[in-house]
Symmetry: C2
């Protein structure tokens, strides 16, 4: 299949939201998606964007995306934070995730970010094994996520 | 002592960097601070700011700060990510951290963020106990931090 990796545009938001909901359903947590469509669009394409994304388009249809924002570390400076890497269920295991991940690594170089960071659930073996394929990936289980 | 909480300005960057280095020294990792002063200033006060901060000023001297950025969750929307909450060593335990933390919670309300998130090292008991004092704080140890 013909896979294209390209930056997300405003017109892609509807399909992206579809994929987000599909994943939430797969994870048995559809009620956890409480963000509104308008907020999603405004956050990516409003006056002050806070997220950016690359899409994987297969034969003209968006089948996956990588969504990121800029994290600021007081020790390391600006880094790319990969929030979501997502490929529609029926097309997993075909290297689409790798194309998206590689594209993000290019962005890090282009923008001179000090690296890329993300999180993975400690029991999500398929995802951990996927990340292990990339040179230099480090895992750190010493931190607790806190929220209020 | 007279404590004022106020937004950080460009002129405060030098003192903030001093506090960042002081903390790194305390954590026995001064070499881990690889960010340059110019990058720090540019990231906070350049054309496209990626961090914001509140300072705790005691009798005219900055003795602590809370630095944050905006995180985007595809499920929850925009949230405040607290990157650093820092009070100079000799003034800890006097409620300055709480003033900063409370100010951030106000920002969440003002900006209609869906919450505040941050991380804490799982062995850092004083910090964990500090956070437990706030109503509704949740801890989640199921995630691994990944970096490349």
């Amino acid at each position: 299949m013909n896979t294209t990796i390209r930056p997300a545009e405003k017109k892609d938001c509807e399909r992206m939201m579809e994929l987000i909901r599909e994943l939430a359903l797969y994870e048995k947590a559809p009620e956890e998606v409480t963000v509104s469509f308008d907020h999603f669009v405004e956050s990516g394409f409003g006056a002050h964007p806070v997220w950016w994304a690359f899409l994987a388009e297969l034969d003209g249809k968006v089948e996956g995306f990588a969504l990121y924002y800029i994290r600021y570390s007081t020790w390391k400076g600006q880094r790319l934070y990969l929030e979501d890497l997502l490929v529609t269920e029926k097309l997993r295991g075909q290297g689409i995730g790798k194309l998206l991940f590689d594209r993000l690594l290019e962005v890090c170089k282009e923008k001179k970010y000090s690296g890329m960071v993300w999180q993975v659930l400690d029991w999500n073996e398929p995802a951990i094994n996927f990340y292990k394929k990339f040179d230099g990936v480090k895992f750190d289980g010493e931190w607790l996520n806190c929220s209020i």
